[in-house]
Amino acid sequence: MAFGVYVHVPFCATRCGYCDFVTYALGEWGGATLEGYVEAALGEIGLARRVLGGGSQVNTVSHVDTVSQANPVFHVDTVFFGGGTPTMLRPEALVRLLDGIRDAWGLADDAEVTAEANPDSVTGETLARLAGAGFTRVSLGMQSAVGSVLATLDRTHGPENVTRAVEGARAAGLDVSLDLIYGTPGEGLSEWRETVAAALVLAPDHVSAYSLVIEPATRMGAALARGEIAPVDPDLQAEMYEAADEAFASAGYDWYEVSNWAREGHRCRHNLGYWTGGDWWGVGPGAHSHLGAGEGRPATRWWNVKHPLEYGERIASGASPEEGREALSGEQSRIEAVMLGVRLREGLDAAALPEAARDALPALAGDGLIDEAALGEGRLVLTRRGRLLADVVVRALT
């Protein structure tokens, strides 16, 4: 089974009003430094290596003792630097971290190494340096091509930044992915179509399109609660999804996950690992990890403390940065597999579903939520309508 490493870089220049990711905007760092962060993250990589890679020091690490010596020969297939804004770090720092990972386990020859980047946080030069050090892919937070929408989203970049970043990435030989958001307050169907078209003009290898979720604990959530902005209209978001799916498909981007489209051979392998029950170690404040069930241990998810300072102190003192964990019961693992797998183009093996779930299939097909033809071949694959109602399907199956 492929093994991934995720590195969470919890810093941003400013915090966007809709964002509830673990990230700290400049001025909110409370004494944390980028340098301190890098040292701590390298420390955690060392810890992970000791735990996963086997050897004599293993058992001192309490939080992962259940997985000690699980698999002595790891090599890393995918690395993903996410955030936050990983490119808040200078390219040397990112390279040091990647080198740390390489030193710990070695990178597979065809490893996929992604960095998320805000379009205005990279230059052609940075991207070239990253490519030279082994990065293969950049995921740019384009979000929209429309100025007013970008403003509502508190984005610091303009459309021209995206164009330049894509050009730089191409020149450096990197694969390019673009993140888009639809359903921003004030955004109409025509603005969204404009964004989709603009993204396609940039000819990326991969696109993610997310429907805006206004979380309560964000500035936008507070504005919503005060009635200053209108709630997102789910019907409009549905139309936007359909419009995007049409446009992407006819431009040669096939959906392979509800929110993700790619050209042949350019799916994000790292994210596919998340969705197919793969193993990965998440490095950094607030990062999540998962190791599947093995000999004598249940499948386990754990996650780190969120604040960079506390994270740094823990690593410095040799303590585990783990904040919490859950051991998944067989049933929970099964539910997760359905919940994640149903969203994929490959879908689920109908025969492997429990009886109650299988009984629900004809009705789901009758309602046009799952593909009739695929079902005939024993696969449960969502139709476009079904992708928009994926949670309905998941509830019916679990």
């Binding site: 997310y210 789910p234 509800v258 929110s259 990062a287 999540h288 309508r385």
Partner: protein, 615 residues
């Protein structure tokens, strides 16, 4: 507590006075009773609390009396020790039967009137009940301490009503105690002593019967003839069942065991029976050895006026609900229930109540004392439906209203009495007209206040009529009613259909002219309450197969988490688990998932307006 100079079982009837306090709700009966408990010394100052006799939590929280309470009080007049038996009664119309039972144990009644409000509807209703029992009435104005009190005006009103001199109307304050001693003296002088035969075979009237977890059934009696002693064997005259008197005593104001009770006295007995139905209110107790031949006149059992389905929100609570209802019924003969099933709500009970306050109180006690979460369906009255072929059915659940060729539908009718300032006559008549009322008579209590009598369908007044009356008379109108029979009416059943499936819990019987408005209101309400499904859901209101209103819940197009959630998969799974938890609280009708909350909210519209308040 001072020793009772007259000991039970050997108190001569000449020094016994049995009376009750009757009034409109809130006119201060229980507060006046407090002063009597204090003045006679049965409750010491430091043990005193407001409305001492309102012992149930629910009575204290709502500030109303639900159960009548009898207390033995000593009182000395001109050197003679008297024994008073005082009964505090409830004022709310739902509990009028408690007043009737209390009256049967008494020779006199204190008719209490708030001197800032004057005569109100239950003042009259309770007065007429007392007069029908030939009781001596002592008119008393209460709350004379209030700045807004107008005792002269209301003394005249009362004098006009009773045909006495305004100067005969006593003035007291239950709050300050002013005039209460004089009132007790007056009771001694005017209320006749009991006149039963102490030597005749024993006859005692059961006027209350209460189940107590520790002591079993406690039966309250008024001894008319003969007497009862501890260890006596007694016979219930209706059933001829014989029991031994394990304990006999008086309430003053806590129960105290005594040697016995003599003719004219009021007290309690315990026989060890576990079921109040074997010690029925209205029955006559006689001695097993020397039995009386004729029983004392009984009471009619209170008849339920309103029905509602009670369902546990969690279906597995059904057996607990049944146990809880059985337990409550032990103390509440007016509560009736029968199992029923609803497609929408599952297993539950169709329960009969005296009115909406009664419903509300029963429901609250069930929820509180037995820790149950309940849904109650919209309350309805009882209908008699006669078909063309002559068969007739009694309908207590609208969903069982027969289909087919109906010859006649009959509904219960009440005589309603409204008392209000005369400036509101027009408004009140308009309201009664809207509710299909027929004016019977109108009398002036004084120049400014009128008593208006209407016959009205019970179904038209039981829900929100009182609220409408209060708001249209700026709070001055009061209402009382009693059932007088039934009448034929143009009533139809309106069904509500979700995706073509009838939702039994929402069926209602309404007047033909109201059916359309009802259908529109409920379909609109449901459209707002039922979450969108992945298909379109039509909501229809129909009379038989004729659709009279229709709404549509548009199909849900998007129900998917389409945000980047990275590796935080636990959060997504928890979200799903929460959604599934929510789904468990859904009832599926056809294919439509309806949250319990939608049922509660949709059904809530009918009992909300007045049930919380008091009359």
């Amino acid at each position: 507590m001072p020793a009772d100079p007259n000991s039970p079982a050997s108190t001569p009837q000449a020094v016994i006075r049995n009376f009750c306090i009757i009034a409109h709700i809130d006119h201060g009966k229980s507060t006046l009773a407090d002063r009597m408990l204090g003045l006679t010394g049965v409750v010491e100052q430091r043990a005193m609390r407001e409305q001492y006799l309102d012992r149930m939590d629910i009575e204290r929280e709502r500030g109303i009396t639900i159960k009548a309470q009898a207390v033995r009080l000593p009182w000395k007049v001109e050197g003679v020790d008297y024994t008073l038996n005082m009964i505090d009664t409830p004022g709310h119309v739902d509990f009028t039967y408690e007043v009737s039972r209390s009256l049967a144990a008494c020779e006199g009644a204190v008719l209490l009137v708030d001197s800032a409000q004057g005569i109100e509807a239950q003042t009259l209703a309770n007065l007429y009940l007392a007069m029908a029992d030939d009781l001596t009435i002592i008119p008393v104005l209460n709350k004379i301490d209030l700045p807004a009190a107008d005792p002269d005006r209301y003394a005249a009103e009362l004098a006009g009503l009773l045909g006495c001199d305004p100067a005969d109307v006593l003035r007291v304050s239950g709050k300050t105690g002013a005039g209460v001693a004089a009132l007790l003296d007056r009771i001694v002088r005017e209320v006749p002593a009991p006149t039963g035969d102490p030597d005749a075979p024993t006859r005692a009237m059961i006027f209350d019967s209460v189940y107590d977890t520790y002591r079993g059934v406690v039966t309250y009696v008024r001894v008319v003839d003969g007497g009862l002693k501890a260890r006596d064997r007694i016979t219930m005259m209706s059933t001829r069942a014989t029991h031994e008197l394990l304990e006999i005593g008086v309430i003053s104001p806590e129960p105290k065991a005594m040697k016995g009770l003599g003719a004219g006295e009021v007290g309690y007995l315990i026989t060890g029976v576990k079921d109040v139905r074997r010690s029925r209110v209205g029955d006559t107790v006689t001695g097993a050895a020397r039995q009386a031949t004729t029983s004392l006149g009984g009471y009619r059992d209170p008849k339920p006026m309103v029905y509602s389905g009670l369902y546990p929100i969690d279906g597995s609570d059904y057996p607990d609900l049944r146990d809880a209802l059985e337990r409550l019924q032990l103390n509440d003969a007016a509560l009736s229930f029968e199992p029923e099933t609803s497609v929408a709500l599952g297993f539950g009970f169709r329960c009969g109540f005296l009115g909406l306050l009664h419903l509300e109180i029963v429901r609250e006690r069930l929820e509180r004392e037995s820790d149950l979460d309940l849904i109650s369906t919209a309350p309805n009255v009882v209908y008699t439906v006669t078909m063309e072929d002559g068969t007739s059915t009694t309908v207590t659940n609208p969903s069982e209203f027969p289909e087919g060729k109906i010859r006649e539908v009959r509904e219960p009718v009440v005589r309603a009495t409204v008392i209000a300032p005369s400036e509101y006559i027009g408004t009140i008549m308009e309201l009664c007209q809207e509710r299909r009322g027929v004016l019977q008579s109108m009398d002036y209590l004084s120049e400014e206040r009128v008593e208006i009598r209407y016959t009205l369908p019970l179904g038209e007044i039981i829900f929100d009529f009182f609220d409408a009356l209060k708001s249209r008379t700026r709070g001055y109108g009061s209402l009382d009613y009693e059932t007088i029979g039934d009448q034929a009416a143009d009533l139809v059943k309106v069904d509500i259909l979700l995706q073509g499936e009838k939702v039994d819990a929402f069926s209602a019987v309404v007047h033909k002219d109201e059916a359309y408005a009802y259908g529109v209101r409920l379909t609109d309400k449901l459209r707002q309450l039922i979450p969108r499904q992945q298909f379109e859901v039509p909501i229809q209101a129909a009379i038989g197969s004729r659709v009279i209103a229709r709404e549509t819940i548009r199909a849900l197009r998007k129900d998917v988490l389409a945000k980047c959630y990275g590796g935080d998969i636990s959060r997504k799974r928890k979200l799903l688990e929460k959604q599934k938890e929510g789904k468990k609280r859904m009832k599926t009708i056809g294919r439509v998932e309806v949250p319990q909350e939608a049922f509660i909210a949709a059904l809530g519209t009918y009992d909300e307006p007045q049930a919380k308040g008091k009359k």
